[in-house]
Amino acid sequence: MTYGTTDMTDNKAPAVEVRNLAKHYGDFVALKNVNVSIAAGEYFVLLGPSGGGKTTLLRTLGGFHKPTRGEILLHGRNVGHLPPDKRPTTMVFQAYALFPHMTVTQNVGYGLKVAGLSKARIAEKVDYALEQVGLTQFTHRKPHELSGGQQQRVQLARAIVLDRDILLLDEPLAALDAQLRKDMCLELKHLQEKVGITFIHVTHNQEEAMTVADRIALIANGDLVEYGRARDIYRAPQKSFTASFVGENNMLKGKVAQSNGASIVVDVAGAMLQVDKRDLDVSDGQEVTLSIRSECVSLDRANGSAAASDGLSMIGTYDESVYLGLTTSHLAHLPDGTEMVSRVIAGSDDTPPEAGAPVRLSWKPSDIRLHVE
């Protein structure tokens, strides 16, 4: 299977390579200095809060923004100067991007018509693409007669019918309701596996990101914070931002009390906590952040003799519990006021401690992570 790579491009080169990319709007810096490489055939997700620059990055790849500085190589070819229609990319937008005066068939066939294909060939390809996205009905309807999910399917078909190498998706599911979004996530993933081209998908929804992504990049404040496999981003975040954005992490601020050895000691609100140094460069007295995912924290009533200093637990004060269906979150706070959350599978009928009772929060050595920034 050849995925539309042309003679000019290098098949061994990554699908996307971004070097020192910056985008400024006057004084506003939308992208600072982004470097990233995306392999061909990968499902890559740009995840981050709104206004963080992920959409700017995607649109710059697509040719809708001119970079202020830096290079964009698609399959080894520098495309920084090319308009969208001259790039090997195509795009799926959040909403409103279907041509309202054309039927579904005409929408999907538009790119082929522009490329000058014969009518028969267009019809054949359009049918195939619509079949791929599971939309064989309604082909003679206009966009406003379709549901939101159907509209996004049409957009997908319109994009994949072009056989471009790279598909950019700008918050494609953001306008859909929660249940539909879940279904469409899986469909997107399967579609990408079927057509095999590179998908680059922007979202602010981490569940969506985890569902579809081979790899995730976190983008905030115009910076590419961190990128890696979805599992690693969740389980072993390198940066404290990642930990605070992905999953539900307890973030503890503290000072390094002892920095020698593979495991160091950090003073958090008077408790001495042990944490793996992970070859990070730390010195005594340095301010650091620790993260522990809420489902890894267990909460027990503290039995009289407080302050057990095993380095893997703290004493806090119980606040309340929040029942969330599948899980229950127990909220407590530390002596310095930091909120802690312990999340457990709901169902145990244990009565929670009363508010104000002392509780012990503990975890396994592998669950706590050190972040230095």
Binding site: D85, T90, Y96
Partner: protein, 294 residues
Amino acid sequence: MNDYDNIWLHRLKWAYLLLVVLTLMTPVIYVMYVSFNANGFGANEYVFTLEWYGLIFSDELLIGALGWTVILALVVTVVAVPMALLSAKYYKAADNKLFPIFLLLSPLFVPPDILGSALLVFFKNLNLVFIWLGDQIGTSLFDSWFRLSFLTATIGLIIYTIPYSFVVILITMGRYRTEQTEAARACGANGWRAFWDIEFPQIRAGVFSACAFTVILVFNEYTRTSLLKGGFDTFTTVLISQMLNTGMSPQSYAMSAMVSFVAIAVIGSIILFTMLRAESLGRIARAKAEPVMS
């Protein structure tokens, strides 16, 4: 209207609105009424006739003027509407919007006689400058460029009509989502193709309305045209100078009524057309499945 509002008060407000429209139209309607009277204005007896209209069409001066009017209206429309379209596109993309909007809308605020006089003196001087320039190089090629003529009248009327077209087109463009242009670009269409295939069909109504407006404005305009035209007359300039010199004759009633009929027919049909279209679109939309996003 609110559920608790007084229905009669609501109807009263509607009645007032329609009364105002009617009052605004009264002079025109009255002129139309008089124009069909064989005995003219102020007569005790009303006898229906088309005699006065017949007189217009047998008047060669008027028919000639009518010809000039049509040509002028067409030329101004063909130039001004694309200019307004380009300006609207420019305005949408511009970072500094104040300068273009000021330049494009301020002709609305300059009264006709002031704009006409300023342009008249400007063109006369420009003409002298061009003649002088020609003399310096030894050519008479530039001599008639800015002599008062069809060209100067066209320029004056373009300046007069551009604000209207600009606003009408801008308002229709407001409903257009730029994502669609981007989607077309992502489908491989170049800038022009994306505009022509995707954006234009959606703003077409605005562009056509702008054309109709421009034609009517040019047809109606007296002050600017009469100041800037050279040796030709338009229908309105003939009519008004007749009325200014000899007062209103039965024939001038017929001419006024005719101009009004044409304008009302054009605008009326546009209103009717947009209403019917909106109505039918609404009906289709209601009949079909409710879209999740709109």
